[in-house]
């Protein structure tokens, strides 16, 4: 630890600003969290339907390639040539029969095994690799991979339990409510760079308290409001969370009276953006899952999205939104999901608010890293609740974070 940081007195009720700003803390996070015993979101299986199809992305800070190496096999390798270390694959998507580094034409199989080294035996008996060069020891670094109902996960660590165990049974149930084994299809992508610490995005979705206040659009049209039947569930270690809520009607009551920005007279000129249909069993209309540390799995009315977090130093992260639909959905349903996407992303009626306030947060932390944020809404407990006026899931995440990072 660089500066002998100590956690504030009021342990669970405070989060010190240095967790968002200190470059040394960030480096430790990359090693202990992103490259530690955690599953990281890589992509959707349907993004690479055919053998040889690949997608490049970044896990933690490391570029990787997700490739369909066989009809029923997905491989994730680091996008780094074993020879001179180039990030050799520069495209976002494509199809290849092998993985080739252009610098010296080292060739790898789709599984990452080294299969070709030009001039390995030299030219005209001159030069070449030494006799002890072992191609089998010079493949691409391969990660452990699991596919779970259409989503591809990878981990750098040998210690990570199975993905289902990593979620825990309660969260496996939340996960399979939407990712139920049906085939998925991509509707498209949104990408934005948010100038704030990566944990702020996790916190944003672990915090239902803000959603009923900041997001006037949500509240005005009854999509997410503090008095609606709702719940916060967290896994046994506090790292994953889900916000569950039930859509209500547009109305005025004591909750809206507490909102200075509530606009009771607001109507939409074209309400098709809110043409919501109930498609999942049960009465919940919102299920926002945070899977620590890398992704948010969004089901907000009929909008289904993965939001991947790629950290970039303590003060920024890239945010990749993949909107999807079930492959067997009607064209009407696909259009409905596409329309509702207007609520989300960098220009979203709702999500633009989040990007902005995360930026404002980082602006407040940076010059004052010895100060601390208060997280005592709903008390100091870490527990599942049947209401949304709480920051319990944020407390849960920091409880786990401190254990992993060694900040007692």
């Amino acid at each position: 630890m660089s500066k002998n940081h100590t956690w504030p007195e009021d342990g669970r009720g405070r989060v010190p600003f240095w967790v968002y700003t200190d470059p040394q803390v960030y480096r430790e996070e990359i090693d202990k969290i992103w490259y530690g015993p955690h599953w990281l979101y890589v992509g959707l299986e349907c993004e690479i339907p055919n053998v040889g199809d690949f997608k490049t992305t970044t896990l933690g800070e490391r570029p990787v390639i997700m490739v369909r190496s066989g009809v029923d096999e997905i491989t994730v390798v680091e996008n780094r040539c074993a020879h001179r270390g180039l990030k050799f694959c520069q495209e976002r998507f494509g199809n290849r029969q092998d993985l080739l580094c252009p610098y010296h034409q080292w060739a790898y199989s789709l599984r990452g095994d080294l299969i070709g080294v030009p001039f390995r035996r030299g030219v005209k008996k001159q030069g070449g690799m030494p006799a002890d060069f072992d191609p089998s020891a010079n493949g691409l670094h391969r990660l452990r991979v699991e596919e779970a109902n259409g989503v591809v996960w990878a981990t750098f660590s040998d210690e990570t339990p199975s993905f289902r165990e990593y979620l825990g049974e309660r969260f496996w149930k939340h996960y399979t409510r939407v990712y139920d084994g049906r085939k998925l299809e991509v509707l498209g992508y949104n990408r934005q760079r948010i100038p704030g610490n990566w944990k702020l995005m996790q916190e944003n979705i672990k915090d239902p308290y803000h959603a009923g206040l900041l997001h006037v659009f949500f509240v005005t049209f009854g999509l997410f409001r503090a008095d609606q039947k709702s719940a916060v569930d967290i896994d046994d270690l506090g790292r994953h969370g889900i916000l569950i809520s039930r859509k209500g009607e547009k109305e005025q009551n004591e909750v809206t009276a507490d909102m200075r920005q509530f606009k009771s007279d607001l109507v939409l000129n074209d309400p098709r953006i809110l043409d919501v249909v109930q498609e999942f069993t049960g009465e919940e209309t919102v299920g926002m899952i945070t899977i620590f540390p890398s992704v948010i799995l969004q089901q907000q009315v009929n909008s289904l999205t993965t939001r991947q977090i790629v950290p970039s130093g303590p003060g920024a992260f890239d945010f990749h939104w993949t909107h999807w639909t079930y492959a067997d959905d009607s064209s009407e349903m696909k259009q409905r999901r596409t329309r509702q996407a207007n609520l989300f992303g960098p220009a979203g009626f709702v999500s633009a608010d989040d990007g902005e306030v995360i930026e404002f947060s980082q602006q407040g932390f940076s010059p004052s890293e010895d100060e601390a944020a208060l997280v005592t809404m709903g008390g100091r407990e870490i527990e599942c609740t049947d209401h949304m006026v709480t920051e319990t899931a944020i407390r849960g995440m920091y409880d786990y974070w401190r254990k992993v990072m060694g900040y007692a």
Binding site: Q192, L214, D270, P346
Partner: protein, 169 residues
Amino acid sequence: MHEAMECQGAAGAGLLNSREAIRDLFDDYYATLDAVDLEAWPNFFTEDCVYRVISRENYERGFSLATIGAESRGMLMDRVTGLRTTQVYAPRYYRRFAGPLKIGRGADGAVPVEHNLLLVQTLIDKQSEIILSARCYDSVVEVDGRLALERRDVVFDSEMIPNSLIYPA
């Protein structure tokens, strides 16, 4: 409010044949947005217009997802309502730099127009930065004696948006 556009063939195609009138339309359009006269913005469109700000990645791969997508003038008005009354964002200036118009041949009472667009954002205490670098694909029609956009696709190369896209392009 305009009635929905009906194809009129050659009749009433006077304005559509005028390159000057088409240039004026875009000059007015960008001046209106740069002045943040948001309430006037939807009036540049037909009643059942299609408006999209969409990444080149989605556009070229045929994905329907747009960063901003509207299927009527009403939806554009709702965007304005959001910007004026529900959304939270830091104050900023947007300035739009349009390249030369490539005006195509009209067919079915509509003229295709293409041009480049650079959208520059300036936040308080920050240096100016490029928010979008885009190619615009527009379809111009004449409704009630004036020109309007029946379709506008702003296809942006710059996939990684610097945080938020607040105002329209």
